[in-house]
Amino acid sequence: MKKLLLGNEAIARGVYEAGATVASAYPGTPSTEITEYISEYDEIYSEWAPNEKVAMEVAIGASFGGARSVCAMKHVGLNVAADPLFTASYTGVNGGLVIFVADDPGMHSSQNEQDTRIIARGAKVPVLEPSDSQECKDFTKEAFKISESFDTPVIVRLSTRVSHSQGIVEMEDREAYEIKPYVKNPAKYVMMPAMAKKRHLVVEDRMAKLREFSETTSLNRIEWGDKKVGVITSGISYEYSKEAFGNVSYLKLGMVHPLPEKLIKDFAKEVEVLYVIEELEPFIENQCLKMGLKVTGKALLPVTGEYSASLIRSKVLGQQEEKQNTIDAEAPVRPPVMCAGCPHRGMYYVLKKLKLTVSGDIGCYTLGALAPVESMDACVCMGASIGMAHGMEKAMGMDAARKTVAVIGDSTFIHSGITGLIDIVYNKGTSTVLILDNSITGMTGHQQNPTTGYTIKGEPTRQVDLVKLCQAVGVERVRVCDPFDLEAFEKAVREEIAAEEPSVIISQRPCALLKNVKFGPLLSINREKCTKCRMCMKLGCPAIVDRGDHLEINSALCVGCGLCTKVCRFNAMEKAGGH
């Protein structure tokens, strides 16, 4: 049977068909759906872990325990999980261990554009790279075989376009995979210097064997066409190349680390001009150059952004696309915004009013850096807001902490914010941390987390009590506040930033997109009462529109959250249809 599957869904199907039984992940665009789809298979135990490091450790443990196991993350998640990865490369596996990492060229939803192949090379683990949904499934199954044959974790590298494109996939049955017996083997599984020294030799030997394997595996294939031009490519770049170059010769690499040097040389010999087409870093190209081959790639194409067939046509083939119309009107940009009814809006209104420096973090609330809120001062990585606020205090003095807050989501706090908070307490900081508890992981599309009280399958579970957690690490000033109660919220922020000790405000209000969130009636602006003072515009609500001569509420966007009624001093916000 054939089905149309998202790349990530096809990965999940591959995990299922391979007989895997354990999956752990932390959500991150564009990788999130892999684990969401896995959770629909009852044959596989699946979970959201607090962060990628824990997810990988769970997968490693499951592999030691004899199961085929997986973890999934976005490219920056691999940084968090790099510690276990680099040493799991030494231990190797028992049951097959496959790690899915989704890169985000073009940064559709990320803070940087790093290339996973480079981390994988550092960790000395093989990397497979599928080009479409069918390969997502096929390569996943192949990855388990490689993992077990060569006793190594295997990375399957994805990119936004592969993860988030749907393609046709042939469905197959689930393989009966028997859990391998666990045998105590400290020389393999306990990485202390004496054991690790021996294992490093094993790793080097394994890489040599993988190099040989890459020469013969069907993952790498040559498609002969016109031999005037040869293209070495992989992943989504293969699909773009096929459209741009047409009937030339291709060396399509499904295994991008380690590379098949002999195959590449043989291919190069047969063609007149050789190109390497790969998004992000010149990973394949540099190795070709090192082998003494004459190749062209990054001399013409950028290391930044996503590629496309037209980019290749224009940069490599010199074919420019002509504009075919005479329309010259500029379309104003449409950046993402916090939704109407978003709980973060009330919080930012207060922070902006108090003119605070905001050390920010990763989630929907990062949108508070954009106009008109423009409240966030810094955002680096998951959990960084708290450590950065502490660092600013240590650099600028305790007075700076009277004007600074760290802002972090509930899920991000559990991911890696808690350690920063411990640092503040331990090292006598006085910063104020706002934990935004919106009852869900928002930006990645509503995943459960340890603070929501539900598992990935929606089953009730023990819930992390944020108040008790903060108190337990030594914060004495912890309070819970509704960000839509603007007066009380402002008072709380004023008091906590003034306190010369660590403090935490839990800004508690559920995400407006949650099904159980109910608001009041939709609103409209009574033009007779409205003085056009534009206080409501400071909220940055997408439903309130400035028409120049008047203000109005877009009834298609208003959800009736009523936040605007709290900032309007003239009671101009009324129930829609009421005047």
Binding site: K3, T29, R161, G167, Y240, S308, A329, P332, R334, M537
Partner: protein
């Protein structure tokens, strides 16, 4: 059949993902190769969103590029303007007349361009402007704008109506099938006055 490229543009939250799922199902049941590409995540929060649907004998790149779209299905006027260069000269351009102001316009830092549809009509012969929000309201749910638009588009393809209806039945939750079929038909039967 030659390859067909359909591009759906709109604003995050307008239901473009459901639209692409329905389109994907239609292509699959027509026995064609198909790729559907969409971007999830941050831009879904009220940003400009684009979905590419390509069907035909063999599809490589999932992405549609400038001058390649046979159908440009626009859920919002400004997004039609933003992506019009992607339409072929003889493309069917279907525009929902709904206007959603982007944040720079809302806060007065930019102006929403005037007479977008007229400007596009001056250069493209095959433009259909649809008051999809009103049609959806008449059907009883303003959220059905996306399915109204699918109805308008379906009429302009060679694919049988029943194939579309089956795809809708398969894709939406059972309790919403009736309203969505109604919205589809409102779009399918839409005629310019």
């Amino acid at each position: 059949m030659r390859n067909t490229a359909i591009m759906i543009v709109g604003v995050g939250g307008q239901g473009t993902l459901l639209t692409s799922r329905i389109l994907g199902d239609v292509a699959l049941s027509s026995g064609l190769d198909v790729k559907v590409s969409e971007v999830h995540g941050m831009s879904q929060r009220g940003g400009s969103v684009v979905t590419y649907v390509k069907m035909g004998e063999k599809i490589h790149s999932p992405v549609i590029e400038k001058n390649e779209a046979d159908i440009l299905l626009c859920f919002e006027q400004l997004e039609a303007l933003r992506w019009i260069d992607y339409a072929k000269k003889d493309a069917s351009v279907i525009i929902n007349t709904q206007r959603i102001d982007p944040m720079p316009v809302i806060i007065g830092r930019a102006k929403y361009p005037e007479s977008i549809i007229e400007k596009i009509q001056a250069d493209y012969k095959n433009v259909t402007a649809v008051p999809a929000l009103d049609l959806a309201k008449d059907c009883g749910n303003i959220k059905a704008v996306n399915v109204v638009m699918i109805g308008v588009m379906a009429k302009r393809t060679d694919i049988e109506k029943d194939v579309w209806l089956k795809a809708i039945e398969k894709t939406v939750k059972p309790q919403f099938v009736e309203i969505n079929i109604k919205a589809f038909m409102a779009g399918y039967n839409f005629k310019l006055d």
